[in-house]
């Protein structure tokens, strides 16, 4: 049987995440051993949020290459994104630290998909939301559009309340900043558009126990 066209684009499945290299310190330990989770494993309502910006005339391939190599540079300064040294690479785990009120939350993402015009992250247990984040670029009428699309549920009841009380807005700010920074790298000052779709209004109460793995709760308990 012929090999699938996407055979080199997907990471190998792993039962649990393993953090290596410079990101394996204190922040990395918060992710070590966690299971990756899809939107189906979360608690809250499921949302699809799409952010888009016109980055000008570079090729989609050039935009994605730049994004993968310098991901952390486009990230807002109040959050730290520790990518592996080689940048965003298939199967690698990146560590994220961010301040949520008075506590510093440590979590991460695993790169599950990568090709020349897109890449995708999957979140681990304990992350405020469960799901996929896809980054892509495509040509539209001689211009290049860069996009971030989240398909997510809040992981647990506390995160769900947090999203309703400002967490969702914070998420918007992160991706607005990221896409503006990416566009600026290519000389574009275009504004970011946002589209939000409620995919599933039901909450998955069977997953309320995700709370015990919440990075936010653990950070708060550590004080």
């Amino acid at each position: 049987m012929a090999e699938a066209k996407d055979s080199g684009n997907w990471a190998e499945p792993v039962e649990r995440l393993h953090v290596e290299g410079p990101t394996s310190g204190k922040a990395g330990r918060a992710v070590e051993g966690r299971r990756p989770v899809s939107p189906l494993n979360g608690f809250g309502q499921m949302w699809q949020k799409t952010y888009r910006v016109d980055v000008g005339r570079p090729s989609p391939e050039e935009v994605i290459r730049t994004w993968k190599t310098n991901f952390g540079e486009f990230w807002p300064s109040y959050n730290r994104f520790y990518a592996p040294l080689a940048g965003v690479q298939l199967g690698e785990v990146a560590v994220i630290q961010g301040d949520v009120g008075p506590v510093t939350l440590s979590t991460g993402v695993r790169v599950i998909y990568s090709d020349s015009t897109s890449f995708a992250f999957m979140t681990p247990e304990g992350h405020p939301f469960a799901g996929f984040i896809t980054f892509s670029a495509r040509r539209e009428e001689e211009r290049c559009q860069a996009e971030v699309q989240l398909l997510i549920r809040a992981s647990d009841p506390i995160s769900e309340v947090g999203f309703m009380l400002g967490g969702s807005k914070k998420e918007d700010e992160i991706w607005d900043h990221t896409l503006k920074s990416l566009a600026a790298r290519f000389g574009s000052s275009a504004s970011v558009t946002k589209e939000v779709v409620l995919i599933d209004r039901r909450r998955q109460w069977r997953n309320w126990k995700n709370l015990w793995k919440s990075a936010a709760l653990r950070a708060r308990l550590r004080g």
Partner: protein, 116 residues
């Protein structure tokens, strides 16, 4: 803008089981075709929608997102979603993304129909 590189058709297996045959690529561009095929399959008291991936050529992360939204639509309508014809590669992808915990994955059409 690139167009969808996929064709889909709907078959009636039994009065309450429909099969969507998929030929080509599952990417974001496949959304209108997949959702239209689901709408066709979903009517008439359908309890199980089976996706036939035998002729699947390519799937990216947006395609996985599409399967998630399809699954939610099916669940909302009180239907189950199953799949067959997946190569080892695509079985691994459903395992990687943990969709195989919610979509029944079967070796062939006969065993998928047995899930009804």
């Amino acid at each position: 803008m690139p167009s969808a590189q996929v064709e889909m058709s709907v078959r009636v297996a039994t009065p309450d089981v429909k099969i969507i045959d998929i030929k080509g690529e599952i990417t974001a561009y496949a959304e209108p075709i997949l959702m239209e095929s689901y709408s066709q399959a979903s009517g008439g008291g359908c309890r199980l929608v089976v996706l036939n991936f035998t002729d699947l050529d390519y799937m990216n992360s947006s395609g996985i997102g599409l399967l998630v939204t399809l699954l939610i639509r099916a669940q909302r309508n009180g239907q189950k979603l199953a799949a067959f014809g997946l190569t080892e590669h695509y079985r691994q992808i459903l395992n990687l993304t943990r969709l195989d915990e919610a979509i029944g994955v079967f070796a062939d059409e006969a065993s998928a129909l047995g899930a009804a």
